[in-house]
């Protein structure tokens, strides 16, 4: 079943066409990769899905609901969570608090409830802390609970972002270069983690530069170049696509 449908979406910045008429679908329960050379518009596509940018034209349908132009927080609430390419944690807050941010949208205590703290609010708060802790344990950061986010290693910061995203209880998890800055060992662990996430029934859409990782875990891959989709298919199909090979040759030199 289709979970996310990106339909004829375009976006330009001051005359520069960043995303041009892109179409693709993500099926529920799969891992999909979005690849392409630097500046191909991958992150822009993510930002369009998550509501950080509004598309100039086209529609984005999530679980049968048109989410085009909704604000990011509403989209999160509907079940799309993300991580950022450049890590955006709450650096001066504790690891647990970072994950609690993700729990926020599944809680309901308002100003008055927070001030006067009736029983249900206390229970909700307790449950949230427990959930947050479980997510930390899930990504393997349970020892860092009260450490400040900025004191974590780069790889652990990426994991913390994933934990925060998972705490929003998403149906679709969008990972923007999750292995960026990770060493070989950490990347291996990440692959296992993504597998675990998938087992929880969460669909994953990711951008990644590490080709071996993409080829290993993605059931379907979409290739962008200059804001346009140039190929779509399984890892095998993509590897054999002449347009992709051409685009890649230029890209390899850049790296």
């Amino acid at each position: 079943m289709t979970l996310l449908k990106v339909y004829n979406v375009s976006k330009s910045f001051g005359g520069l066409m960043a995303v041009n008429d892109v179409n693709f679908e993500v099926s529920e329960g799969t891992v999909m990769g979005l690849i392409g050379p630097n500046g191909a518009g991958k992150t822009t596509v993510f930002n369009l899905i998550t509501g950080n940018y509004k598309p100039d034209s086209g529609e984005i349908i999530f679980s049968g609901k048109n989410i085009t132009g909704l604000s990011p927080n509403k989209i999160v609430k509907l079940g799309i969570a993300r991580t950022f390419q450049t890590i955006r944690l709450f650096q001066n807050r504790s690891v647990l608090e970072n994950v609690l941010a993700g729990c926020h949208c599944r809680m309901r205590a308002g100003v008055l409830a927070c001030m006067f703290q009736p029983g249900w609010q206390k229970q909700e708060e307790h449950q949230a802390v427990k959930n947050a802790f479980q997510e930390l344990r899930f990504v393997g950061l349970e020892k860092e609970v009260n450490n400040q986010a900025k004191n974590l290693s780069y790889g652990n910061q990426r994991l913390l972002e994933i934990a925060r995203a998972l705490a929003t209880r998403p149906k679709l998890l969008i990972l923007d270069e999750p292995a960026g800055g990770m060493n070989e060992q950490e990347t291996q662990a990440l692959v296992r983690l993504i597998d675990q996430i998938k087992k929880r029934g969460i669909t994953i859409l990711l951008i990644e530069h590490d080709m071996s990782l993409v080829m290993k875990i993605c059931e379907k891959i979409v290739v962008l170049e200059h804001g346009t989709k140039i190929a779509e298919g399984t890892a095998e199909q993509i590897k054999a696509d002449p347009q992709v090979i051409e685009a890649y040759l230029g890209w390899e030199e850049d790296d």
Partner: protein
């Protein structure tokens, strides 16, 4: 119509003063991202220093008013610039790595300190500049009396602005200032001595403020120890209207603010003048959240 044109020239005159002070604000902001609330008081210091020099050295008798004013203006600019450098060293440099608001509070403290020092040194009374230093003649254009001084005021403001603009755009130091304004870290990597650049900026900004101070003293004839606060606030508004950190923006913002004030007051109400100016500022910012010439920086996600 005559009223309109007359008020327009009134607005441009006061606007050029705002613009001159706003230039200093905006330069400091551009490089340091600091709202220097003490800037208005540096302007007052300029006005008082100018008064002291005019009275005490007898330069006017020796070399004549125009030359004396020029010399004194340069002296004042130099001295106020030095005070600016000192201010940066003492009150802002230790806070460069701290939260931005810490420096704002430090600036407010410095402002209180400066205005009260002026009060203790010069007294709380209004001080009066010597008269008869400036020409008293008029130019009459289409039945409009425009005092020559007023044209001189505009002229001097524009010359100073133009010099600053050329300095920042055309010289090597200017390029370094612009580089430091965009990214201090990167500028440092390019071999720019950022500390030196900041000192230069803290010399030029206050020096222009000091020049504005002496001009206000000469033109309007009176100075007081609290005037810096009001002028400083107006200049801050002017800088924001134009897009803070942007040099042509400060000029534009100053002139626009002056004109809004005089036209708004003339056609709506004088008692509501400042409220009208603030209201227009708010509307401008709602429509253009970074001011008229400010760059819209879409935050990178």
């Amino acid at each position: 119509m005559e009223l309109f044109i007359q008020q327009l020239t009134n607005g441009l005159a006061i606007g050029s003063i705002y613009a001159l002070i706003a230039l200093g604000y905006t330069m400091v902001y551009g490089v340091m991202k600091l709202i220097n609330f003490a800037h208005g008081d540096l302007f007052s210091i300029g006005a008082y220093l100018g008064l002291t020099f005019l009275i005490s050295f007898g330069l006017v008798d020796k070399v004549g008013a125009p030359v004396a004013i020029l010399i004194i203006m340069l002296m004042v600019m130099g001295l106020v610039g030095l005070i600016g450098i000192l201010l940066e060293r003492v009150a802002y440099r230790p806070l460069r790595k701290a939260d931005r608001l810490a420096a704002v509070v430090s600036a407010l403290g410095a402002s209180i300190f400066f205005s009260n020092s002026l009060m203790l040194i010069y007294g709380a009374k209004f001080r009066v500049y010597p008269h008869n230093l400036l020409p008293k003649s008029y130019i009459t254009i289409l039945e409009l009396h425009i005092p020559v001084v007023r044209i001189l005021l505009l002229l001097v403001s524009f010359i100073l602005m133009a010099c600053l603009y050329l300095f920042v755009q055309k010289t090597k130091t200017g390029t370094a200032i612009r580089a430091a304004a965009i990214d201090q870290g990167a500028a440092r990597l390019m071999g720019i001595n950022v500390n030196k650049i900041i000192s230069i900026v803290f010399f030029i900004g206050p020096a222009l403020g000091g020049a504005a101070g002496i001009m206000v003293g000469l033109y309007y004839g009176q100075v007081n120890f609290l005037m810096g606060w009001l002028y400083g606030l107006k200049a801050f508004i002017a800088a924001v209207i134009g897009g803070i950190g942007n040099i042509p923006g400060a000029m534009l913002g100053g002139l626009i603010l002056g004109v809004i004030e005089s036209l708004g007051a003339a056609y709506i109400s004088f008692a509501w003048k400042d409220a009208i100016a603030f209201f227009v500022l708010i509307v401008i910012l709602i429509v253009r959240p970074t001011g008229i010439l400010g760059e819209r920086v879409a935050e990178k996600v």
